[in-house]
Symmetry: C2
Subunit: 341 residues, 2 copies
Amino acid sequence: MGSGRPTIHDVAARAGVSKSLVSLALRGSPRVSEESRAAILAAAADLGYRPNAAARSLAVRRSRTVGVLILDLHNPVFPEILDGVQDALRTNGFSTMLVTGGSDPALQQSEVESLLQFQVEGLILISHRLAPEVLRAIAAEVPTVVVTRSDVPGTRIDTVSNDDLVGAGLAVDHLVALGHRRIACLSGGDNPVSRARVQGYETAMERHGLGRLVRTVPGGLTDTAGHDAARSALGTGTGPAPTALFVANDMAALGAVAAVQELGLRVPDDVSVVGYDGIAMGGLRSVDLTTVAQPLGEMGETAARSLIHRIEHPRARARHVTLTPRLAVRGTTAPVAAAGS
Amino acid sequence: MGSGRPTIHDVAARAGVSKSLVSLALRGSPRVSEESRAAILAAAADLGYRPNAAARSLAVRRSRTVGVLILDLHNPVFPEILDGVQDALRTNGFSTMLVTGGSDPALQQSEVESLLQFQVEGLILISHRLAPEVLRAIAAEVPTVVVTRSDVPGTRIDTVSNDDLVGAGLAVDHLVALGHRRIACLSGGDNPVSRARVQGYETAMERHGLGRLVRTVPGGLTDTAGHDAARSALGTGTGPAPTALFVANDMAALGAVAAVQELGLRVPDDVSVVGYDGIAMGGLRSVDLTTVAQPLGEMGETAARSLIHRIEHPRARARHVTLTPRLAVRGTTAPVAAAGS
DNA sequence: TTGAAAGCGCTAACAG
DNA sequence: CTGTTAGCGCTTTCAA
């Protein structure tokens, strides 16, 4: 009672009962007399007692906590997924321990390591950059679900992602329906997600008989990368300029829009732009991007639910959920201009 | 050894030494023979031993973890602050436990509660919505620093914020220098930060002899709120329309820009817009907002350092740091149009 | 340099 | 209904 915070022991002393009874009462066991319960609750209250989660988790050998690793909080996609995760976790009585490792795989690994030391019961990795063997080692120890990637090897890992092939197809279909034919794709670089989107684009172009007009420009997933890629796509290059751009993600698409405007062209009058992700940008009207919207929140929830399932049924087989994106037609696409070319 | 994860006990057994020696060796004590150390390290390695943070923190009565509560990950300001916090914390050997409570005070309080149960040694509250008395109660138990607000009562609470009065002044000075006189302020609603910015605006206007032209329009901190406020400011109202808008934060400013454009006016040719916060928007070129930039990362670092100081010197007096914002002149401000008025 | 023992705050049988 | 006892995994005196 002297120094630190009050413990269950102090509460017991003050209420004139035993430690165990306090423990029971505090967790709402029915086999505690009303009288004792009241005394205990009162004692706890005026001592300002707060259970020690470390001690509890040590005793029960469960932390009721899951770890979430997120690549980067700056891309609005991730907070959106996180919302879904947190909701589902919270309603199931789990706490969330959130860490960010930046894009540095080593740092990410050490963050995951520290999550494991905290005895998290499961892991949700959102857009991680961990090496496959590291990932497998982790998943062997604790139920793991990966969000945003579906290329993870090993049957012990759940995945939740959206169908990038279908999504890219939606974008192309939309542009083709608007009369566009010279549709360039600004790729997102050398990662599985971006590759899938490019492939979806190519497939769709071929499906529309536009195989020969396929044009993929190397780019990246940041707005700067999108900006540069757009410039090179629209620049004095091989053949006539595209009338539409399908960009690997929304951040890059915003950069691309800026580049188009810098070149003295208008969006969507001269060039249509379609992004991918469906970020809300806080509802940002100023950048009213037509985009392939992933069901971000739903992906988060699904991930959390899958994980909880695995935590409760450790021997369950891994599930791989692929959700379907939908096209959000907004302000950056329009019918191809009648004139010119 | 049978069921769960290997413990220090298993390592001891395998290395043929006692638990205590393992503990020493693992924490790099010099008073362990090279021989034992090697054996222990080897044993730990091939058992895949990982220390149990809960047990450790129970034994040492320190968690080496600080809790961070963030209002809302969707506003890019907060991840930016968080970066600074995490860096400073990490380099000082602390882990971060990050939680979000949305804008619901009750939820925030329960999240803080759960942080405390995890025995965090300190708390960093970024833009919280906790009631003053709740805040005070928390701060009485654990070192606490509040970022983004400086209006917190009680001497046990550190604060880190930017000087909103000065910042608002910078914005007004800039606009006045560009020849603007009818500068309206779109307020951010009824919270201390927004109030300070409005007051800074009014003071600066008076300093420039423009006291009679002060015009404050009620608004909010979201882009929708900014949008609506801008419409009402520019709408058919009392007297001539303003040529410049000073908006309570960047999100709202982006909404305001959109509103201006919807009204058929151009930014910055017809109307200049200045925001507040200095969010990077991932470097978003498409919304190249002139803004009063807070030193976000630095605020985070400062907060973390203050907290660590308080953790190490519990009796230290609270510090209130106010950092100075700077004006970032970008694409949404220009000299006032010569014509009209 | 090493080990035995006690204890951090809590839960969980098991008796009464 | 209630108390006793024995840990959970780790650190930390204190002796040897």
